[in-house]
Symmetry: C2
């Protein structure tokens, strides 16, 4: 598991890519860690307020370079993009080098490790700045053995119909809703953006296969004292490229309950558009069977992400799913998570 220092003055690097879709990591940090972000580093939109591009942003400036960022006194630069392939875009490299030269830590979720770049590593060491490559597999190499079952807290896993449907958002919104009810709730991050938001986590798809379920287990054990933990899911159990990671989460976490997350209107996998997503009832059964090999768990609700979908069609799909699956269905951002949380509480008990 990676644990980041408690940064409170984060600068987000989006260099030329600032946008709700193009810099999704930055956009998520602006939504879920607004109090800790002091600005966005991007020479393209410099001078304006981030709210002009990301409506939910706190009122923070876009600055052109590290010199302009100086008055913001950043304590870390977070790489705010997650491009397919995960290589470092050229224009970003100079900004990162400048941050390290100014003694500012850099946190990255790219596949390409910044600390393996000799020049960046030398700059970091010379200026006492640290580089955190969140995709670097953790040193712990544990073979899972269902130790998650020994934790007291209720374990809830968000599972999906595809990658990139909103499993992190559902887990974060559920964590917020549980805390508002006075529960000690923990969000457990399994992806780079989640780990940046939580300040700790493991990027599970970057872990060597043999140790992926064990890494999830460690993460769940780290929240053993909470009332409830919400584990960020990944992929889909039916997706040929992602299902192994998904099962590592299901069997590493041994959930008591699952929330199925779907992107309204999506019929085929976004990364394999020749393959149709199975019906949600079939996926529900597959998740429940897989989980129950170790610990009985039901899908107790559906989080429906309507982003980019005609609102009328999304509402119709929500009604249809609620009827067909006989489960609460809601959009966690627009409608809140109380219905889902009620279902979770009704269907799980403390492991005292």
């Amino acid at each position: 598991m990676h644990v980041l220092p408690p940064y409170r003055r984060i600068l987000l690097l989006t260099e030329g890519q600032l946008g709700a879709f193009t810099s999704k990591t930055a956009a998520a940090l602006l939504r879920y860690r607004p109090a800790d972000v002091v600005g966005v580093l991007d020479s393209h939109g410099a001078g304006s307020d981030v709210r002009a591009v990301i409506p939910w942003s706190p009122p923070v400036p876009i600055v052109a370079d590290m010199a302009a960022a100086g008055p913001l006194s950043p304590d870390a630069l977070f790489v705010g993009i997650a491009p397919p392939g995960g290589a470092l875009p050229g224009p970003m490299r100079q900004q990162i080098a400048d941050a390290l030269a100014a003694g500012v830590d850099v946190v990255s979720g790219l596949h390409q490790f910044l600390a393996d770049d000799a020049e960046l590593a030398a700059l970091a060491s010379r200026n006492r700045a640290r580089i955190f490559d969140l995709r670097r597999p953790p040193p712990e190499r544990t073979i899972a053995s269902a130790r998650a079952l020994s934790t007291r807290c209720r374990r809830v896993l968000t599972v999906g119909t595809d990658g990139n449907v909103g499993k992190m958002v559902a887990a974060l919104e559920l964590t917020g809703a549980a805390r508002r009810r006075g529960l000690r709730a923990e969000f457990l991050a399994t992806g780079q953006t989640g780990a940046m938001i939580a300040g700790r986590g493991v990027v599970i798809d970057a872990v060597v296969s043999d140790f992926a379920p064990g890494a999830v287990e460690e993460l769940v054990l780290s929240a053993a004292g909470a009332d409830v933990c919400f584990i960020e899911g990944q992929g889909s159990i039916a997706h040929p490229g992602f299902s192994a990671v998904t099962l590592a989460l299901v069997h590493g976490a041994c959930p008591d309950a699952m929330i199925l997350v779907h992107h309204a209107g999506r019929k085929c996998y976004s990364a394999a558009p020749h393959l149709r997503i199975p019906p949600l009832a079939e996926l529900q059964a597959a998740y429940e069977s897989a989980a129950s090999l170790l610990h009985p768990a039901r899908v107790v609700g559906v989080a429906l992400n309507p982003l980019g979908c005609d609102p009328k069609l999304a509402r119709a799909e929500a009604r249809l799913l609620a009827q067909e699956l006989r489960l609460p269905v809601c959009d966690p951002i627009a409608a809140g998570c109380d219905g889902l949380l009620d279902a979770i509480i009704a269907n799980t008990t403390d492991h005292d």
Copy 2:
């Protein structure tokens, strides 16, 4: 995928650990590649014939050191053990160094990479010897997309009730049986020992999670022209530590049929003895459900490994399983695989 040169004069390194159980990799090479092995390098039993220790071995000598191995003209040294943790035992290191100094290639499946040892790497380069670390993840990084479905050949996956039950042996024996019937059959290795036997393969549990199903897919595509391929399975779909790797194989290979492999008498996981192995009927259903999310596949037979089990009890378990599952059940080594092969042929068709 790793591809080894076509070695024909292999020396097996077991240094102090020669035995059917203690040097399982060496023992398997002696069984499945007897014509290519010229001797065993082990200072402990030096001077005697390997048959004194491994009954199924060809008549080859045990030699104490590389000097004594000289007359055997080895073209490669294969590390013949697979210790838990995978570190290189001290006494083996000198033998490996001597082999490299003599210009002999070294093939290893250890977790600890020999090529990362500066002294061994220097010796190799100075003497034009190559080091093959089979657990080093392949450079290809493919996200699987069910491309295995496009192959013409029948795809058969051995699946298990636990790790270390005989899935490799079942796949190898099935490959032999199919070839004896005149079929173009390929064994596809997914573990270190299998890769040493086949001369190519991928050690799937060493691949980063995101790319594990893709690596299986590549392997299956490499046998697209065969009549039938037998993919070496790993782990178990219900084992908390192994299930993710297992599902990478199921969804990477998209099998047409599966053979369930079980170790007679085993009730609990050998690496997690506090957990009971689910009933075979339940595992059969779990494998069939998981596979069918992408491509319908049935478990069509059971390979029962009686090693170390009272023969009477093993026979009774075989009868019980055959009755309960209504499937052919056999010990691939003692009884041959014809029953299983018949079931495979009866339950699959060419994808022409």
